[in-house]
């Protein structure tokens, strides 16, 4: 796969289709891959990498890249293409300046998942069918490939590649996903349990803004939380209220636009399961206003700028619960 | 409990003078009615209105003034809007003095000085000029070139006319950007005027003003052959602590709040161009 992508990248540059291509650059280790712009065959041959640790969603970079002039090539995984389409829909990416190549994805691994399995000093990983052989400073360890996957890939919703000029690998399909199970588990808890759960998670927040800055849906030029004139400037998690405020408003602001790419949870240095907030909105939207997948359809009206005369009343929230 | 340098003292604004349409000069004393602290010309202090914010301003009064501090403040943001809306009697918080100040008693001593200022850039220079006037015999010739957009935008115009211009050995050269009916002085930009005045290259130049003025004045001075270690200017960056810690005013290995704001040109040459 990597060789086909690199060959395509070189072809795009040398045929003049694109002046530069957006991909992933190898790092110090096997897993610390950085999104990068490549402008020459040499750079691509030396540094371009595509593998199970290329989790970063490149679509957000296209907002800036598509405005720099000239055409930029981009390699997008299926879930990246949902963001790509959503951003075009919001007129954030200028599609005429992007040549998107879809690359099929077998699920991305997460070094933190490997570390969370108790494996220390990871030096290299070999894929051996359904399992991974992990070379470490302390000898070789074996791990199920599934256990090393990002959470979002374990519950992958779609392998479908959208809106790309060409594909590398097979076109895939939407697939059944268990991604709302955790949300449902939380919904089944008592409010006290839910409150305790979220305090436990959100109290770890250090307000580094990684979730916001990586999020393809968070593309405001100036965030309300950074603006001293907004009345809601909020720089530090001074107390539980401010932790809640930031995450509620951020999730709300991307509601109906969030494609559930899972980048927020991937980048959180404090491992807060932020996707559970976004998925709650997605689940509610699906249940209350009909199934909707942001980014899937260029023409569908986003649920929060749409309505039906017979939409449920807000009291549905009070009524549906059994807990007082 | 030990007193922390970040905790300010209280001070009171006793007088507010409208200098130009967007510049006001505040007179500040301690709650005991006396001058809050001593300073060196070119040093700054943190003024704040709790709830609005804290900001660093250069002290425009001369250290030789024993009664109060003065700050000339241009209205350009949140804190300055508030300071402009203030009435005499209002308390503010104050901490300082910060920064290195001008080397008035060392490098400047005995020198022939040229002050070049544009707009609100006169504020930090006013402190030095009045200091030099007070100790007139310690310095040589003094020339002051000061320019503004219009006559109404000349800060301290009355003081310049009534006091500075009348002093022996001090020549004041005023200029405004565009001609206007009630102005019979020089018209034109500061950099060109400085060039026209063709000062002796042995003089020490002290400059403060908008970046574009500094840039072109410097180019002119270089052309005339001024050595870079005879030119002084002040920098302005965002600051929060004024103690060299909060990180905003860091340029290279210097913190403008602590190691500046006054730099000699040859010192600036050693620093990254990030100001």
């Amino acid at each position: 796969m990597q060789e086909r992508i690199k060959a395509k990248a070189i072809e795009l540059l040398e045929s003049g289709v694109c002046g530069r291509v957006l991909g992933w650059k190898t790092g110090e280790f096997f897993y610390d891959v950085t999104p990068a712009v490549f402008e020459s065959r040499e750079e691509i041959e030396r540094d371009f990498v595509f593998g199970p640790f290329c989790g970063a969603n490149l679509s957000k970079y296209l907002i800036a890249e598509s405005r720099k002039g000239g055409k930029v090539g981009a390699f997008l995984k299926p879930c990246d293409t949902y963001s790509f389409q959503q951003l075009q829909k919001e007129h954030r990416i200028l599609p005429e300046n992007v040549y998107a190549v879809g690359v099929q994805c077998g699920g991305m691994c997460d070094i933190d998942a490997i570390r969370a399995a108790g494996i220390k000093g990871v030096l290299d990983v070999e894929e051996q069918g359904d399992s991974l052989l992990v070379h470490t400073l302390y000898g070789d360890k074996s791990l199920d490939r599934a256990a090393a996957l990002s959470e979002r890939c374990r519950v992958c919703k779609s392998k479908k590649i959208l809106g790309c000029a060409e594909l590398i690998g097979e076109q895939g399909e939407e697939q059944p996903s268990a991604r709302f199970e955790q949300v449902a588990e939380l919904e089944a808890m008592t409010p006290e349990e839910r409150f305790a759960f979220w305090r436990g998670e959100l109290s770890r927040c250090i307000r580094c803004n990684a979730c916001r800055n990586v999020c393809p849906a968070c593309s405001c030029e100036k965030c309300v939380f950074d603006n001293p004139s907004s009345g809601a400037e909020n720089k530090a998690p001074a107390n539980s209220f401010e932790e809640n405020l930031f995450h509620i408003i951020r999730a709300f602001h991307v509601a109906g636009r969030c494609t559930d790419c899972g980048e927020c949870s991937r980048v959180c240095p404090q491992h807060i399961p932020l996707h559970l907030l976004n998925r709650k909105f997605i689940k509610d939207i699906n249940e209350l206003y009909g199934p909707y997948q942001a980014g899937a359809d260029m023409d569908a009206k986003p649920p929060l700028v749409n309505f039906q005369a017979d939409d449920p009343e807000p009291s549905v929230v009070r009524e549906r619960g059994t807990n007082p | 409990m030990r007193h922390d340098p970040l905790i300010p003292m209280l001070a009171q604004v006793t007088d507010i003078r409208q200098d130009t349409p967007d510049v006001k000069t505040l007179r500040v004393v301690g709650l005991d009615g006396k001058k809050p602290f001593l300073h060196i010309p070119g040093q700054c202090a943190m003024l704040s209105i709790p709830g609005i914010g804290e900001a660093l301003f250069s002290i425009t009064s001369s250290p030789t003034n024993e009664d109060y501090l003065e700050f000339s403040i241009k209205k350009c943001g949140c804190v300055t809007d508030w300071l402009h809306a203030m009435e005499p009697g209002q308390q503010v918080t104050l901490r300082g003095p910060y920064g290195n100040g001008f080397p008035v008693d060392t490098d400047f001593a005995g020198k022939d000085l040229v002050f070049v200022a544009g707009g609100i850039g006169l504020a930090p220079l006013r402190s030095v000029i009045n200091y030099v006037r007070h100790y007139r015999d310690r310095y040589g010739k003094v020339d002051i070139v000061y320019g503004s957009r219009s006559k109404a935008d000349l800060v301290d115009y009355q003081e310049i006319l009534d006091e500075w211009s009348k002093e022996d050995g001090i020549s004041v050269h005023l200029t405004i950007d565009n001609p206007q009916p009630d102005w019979d002085g020089h018209v034109g930009f500061v950099p060109n005027y400085v060039k026209e005045l063709a000062f002796d290259t042995g003089r020490t130049v002290v400059m403060c003003g908008p970046p574009i003025m500094i840039k072109f004045t410097l180019a002119g001075l270089m052309e005339q052959g001024f050595p870079r270690d005879q030119i002084y200017t002040t920098l302005e960056l965002r600051m929060k602590c004024a103690l060299g810690r909060c990180g905003r005013c860091n340029i290279g290995d210097k913190y403008v709040c602590k190691d500046g704001p006054v730099f000699r040109l040859d010192q600036l040459d050693q620093l990254p161009d990030e100001y």
Binding site: G27, F29, Y31, D32, T34, P35, A36, V37, Y61, I111, R115, A116, K120, G121, L123, L137, Y138, R204, I206, R207, C208, N209, N213, V214, K235, A236, P237, A238, V267, P269, Q270 | M1, D4, P5, L6, I7, L10, P50, G51, G53, G77, E87, Q90, Q91, E236, R238, K240, C241, L243, R245, C246, G247, R248, N250, G252, D253, Q270, P272, E274, Y275
Partner: protein, 334 residues
């Protein structure tokens, strides 16, 4: 030197916590944190905490002073919480070095009394590393992870905790703990430190010299191009110390507080007069120049980095000081 069987660790913690607040690193890998000890709390299996130990001396948010504004009058209300002694157990050698770096910033005249009070009240018990991660590079910066500093140095070997007091504060602490016995730590053979992938990191190209050359390097553009401008590297960094001072109006008074800030943020240096660091390139460059060049230039060549590897693990796009220094330090190929 003192020793204690690990089986008595809980009793040891209980005794420490009886005299003062005790913080130990607890929690799972990835989220481990220095946590106030309570009955049953166990040491983390992770090498290090997600956030650094600096938090205990320089917390993310702290109230400085309150003001009450009535008409034209202002009242300054100093209501600092009284200082309480505390112990941090299990600080690694890298984090322990970071206190020296922070001290040079916060204790320089005029000293920051908030930081100083905490430093005076905190006793640091370090713990030697036995299982470093691949991201560790403290050894390349002259830190010995097997022999950490601190008021008390600690080692775990076999089933025993060994403790050696290094300062008066450390000795005083150990004297309060009757369960400690005299003992000598065995020589530990730890070849793993020689196998660390980053052990040969060469930062000789950095330091106070060549400031302008590094600053003007054309390589910054490609290094910074994918930086998201978030603050995760700065917030997990044990030596990052930039802060902001803000006022919060509670409705009845103004609370002036200090909170961490990041030079990576676009509004860090924004002024009404303009923006001296207009793009992410300048902000990114500032952070690394500060650690690799500016700090050493004013502190006898000491880098503003302790090699803890947190930024290597936490950066969303895996751009970090090792890559930056590696790229910048590389000689130009003609």
């Amino acid at each position: 030197m003192k020793k204690l069987p690990l089986s008595q660790l809980d009793a040891f913690f209980a005794a420490l916590a009886a005299g003062q607040e005790l913080y130990i690193p607890a929690g799972d890998a990835g989220t481990a944190a220095f946590t106030p000890w309570r009955e049953g709390l166990k040491l983390t299996p992770a090498l290090n905490t997600s956030r650094s130990a600096k938090d205990l001396f320089f917390p993310q948010v702290e109230n400085l002073v309150d003001f009450k504004v009535t008409g034209k009058q202002i009242e300054i209300i100093e209501n600092r919480a009284p200082a309480k002694p505390f112990v941090i157990f299990g600080v690694r050698a890298c984090d322990c070095r970071s206190f020296d770096i922070l001290d040079k910033v916060f204790l320089a005249d005029p000293a920051d009394t908030y930081y100083k009070t905490r430093r005076e009240n905190g006793t640091i018990v370090t713990l030697a590393c036995t299982e470093p991660e691949e991201t560790c590079f403290c050894t390349a910066l002259g830190i010995d992870p097997a022999n950490p500093a601190g008021d008390v140095s600690g080692w775990i070997a076999e089933d025993t905790l060994y403790l050696q007091a290094n300062t008066g504060k450390g000795s005083a602490l150990l004297e309060t703990l009757p369960m400690l016995e005299e003992g000598e730590k065995p020589e530990l053979d730890q070849p793993v430190f020689d196998r660390l992938p980053l052990k040969d990191l060469d930062w000789s190209a950095f330091g106070g010299e060549r400031m302008m050359e590094h600053f003007n390097s054309p390589k910054w553009a490609s290094l910074a191009e994918s930086c998201l401008g978030c603050g995760s590297c700065t917030f997990v960094c044990p030596t990052c110390q930039c802060y902001d001072i803000k006022d919060f109006n509670t409705g009845s008074e103004i609370k002036r507080f200090r909170c961490w800030d990041s030079c990576m943020y676009s509004d860090f240096t924004l002024m009404s007069a303009g923006q001296p660091r207009p793009t992410q390139l300048e902000r990114f460059r500032q952070r690394f120049m500060h650690k690799l060049v500016y700090y050493p230039s004013t502190h006898e060549g000491e880098f503003g980095c302790v090699g803890c590897g947190r930024c290597l693990q936490k950066c969303p796009i895996s751009m970090n000081i090792v890559k930056v220094a590696g790229t910048l330090g590389k000689e130009e190929t003609p």
